[in-house]
Symmetry: C2
Subunit: 148 residues, 2 copies
DNA sequence: GATGTAAATGATACCACGTCTCAATATGAC
DNA sequence: GTCATATTGAGACGTGGTATCATTTACATC
């Protein structure tokens, strides 16, 4: 059930494949879409209550550094939500009115990434692309434009 | 010094143009690049020490809801940094090792935005594009590739 | 399979960011 | 100028995330 390639990426980067890390990754892979740290903590605890808070946060940091997940701001909440970055990228549209998010796949950013690597001497491993706007439901619902 | 159009956006959205809001916006507009809430609090206090913490955070929320600024998590799971969204968009590269951010301008996302508007029936007003990877300094600094 | 060792862990104390409450004040419509 | 109301500032409060440190685990080597 656990995507083995992600655990491989941990091992290949020199990190041990511990129980805490395996469970946290599994929780995130199992869940569709974004998760708050509270949701992750709950899900981890329900699978293995012996795993400590600190290790969950440490794992979230580690997975972020490995570009396996990414913290992103979602409206209304002071804390980030974490989202898997399959193949290193993720894209969505956020309605600034109702906060619904619409995921999409094609971004066509490969050539831009290459250009940036040359221009700035960086090695890029992933990206996050967020569009903001008003979703169809909200614009139909009579929300006047200048109220946003 | 304060870009009048942004204050207009506040007023047009039905919010009062108060001293706290003007100073917070001015601080963010004056500063180049990303700011943490701590930096914003400091800068606001040094301009007008009578402005309270709560009002600063309330203003950050408001400016975010109006898509004038955007919080992004440039460092692990710590606190977000806030960045102006001139003309509704912003782009940068984040080094996942040292958290340095490199800003860039061209993104060429206009045609993608148009396609998405048709495909999902949304009205898009802006976007944030983040690449992550390893900056030149970090890869030279002996960080082995497979360690990230 | 046993051994050694450094990385990783879990418990808990701790801190800081951000929120809530509420009386006082400033704003903008009239 | 008057008034209604949005907004404010002070400060108590809560909660998400971190630092510490003794203990355990993973995994390389034999
Ligand atoms: Mn998403
Ligand atoms: Mn930036
Ligand atoms: Zn919506
Ligand atoms: Zn770097």
């Amino acid at each position: 059930m656990n995507n083995p390639s992600r655990l491989d990426r941990l091992r290949d980067a020199g990190y041990k494949l511990t129980n805490a890390r395996t469970v946290v990754l599994n929780v995130i892979e199992t869940h569709e879409g974004h998760m708050t740290s509270a949701e992750i903590l709950d899900a981890v605890a329900s699978r293995d209550s012996s795993i400590g808070r600190a290790s969950v946060f440490r794992t979230l940091d580690l997975l972020t550094r490995l570009a396996i997940i990414r913290p992103t701001y979602t409206a209304g909440s002071a804390t980030p939500t974490y989202v898997l970055m399959p193949d290193g990228h993720h894209h969505h549209i956020v309605c600034v009115q109702c906060h619904q998010t619409i995921e999409f796949e094609d971004c066509g950013l490969g050539s831009l990434a290459e250009r940036l690597e040359g221009e700035f001497g960086v090695k890029l491993t992933g990206h996050l692309l967020e569009f903001y706007g008003i979703c169809g439901a909200c614009s139909e619902a009579g929300v006047v434009d200048d109220e946003v």
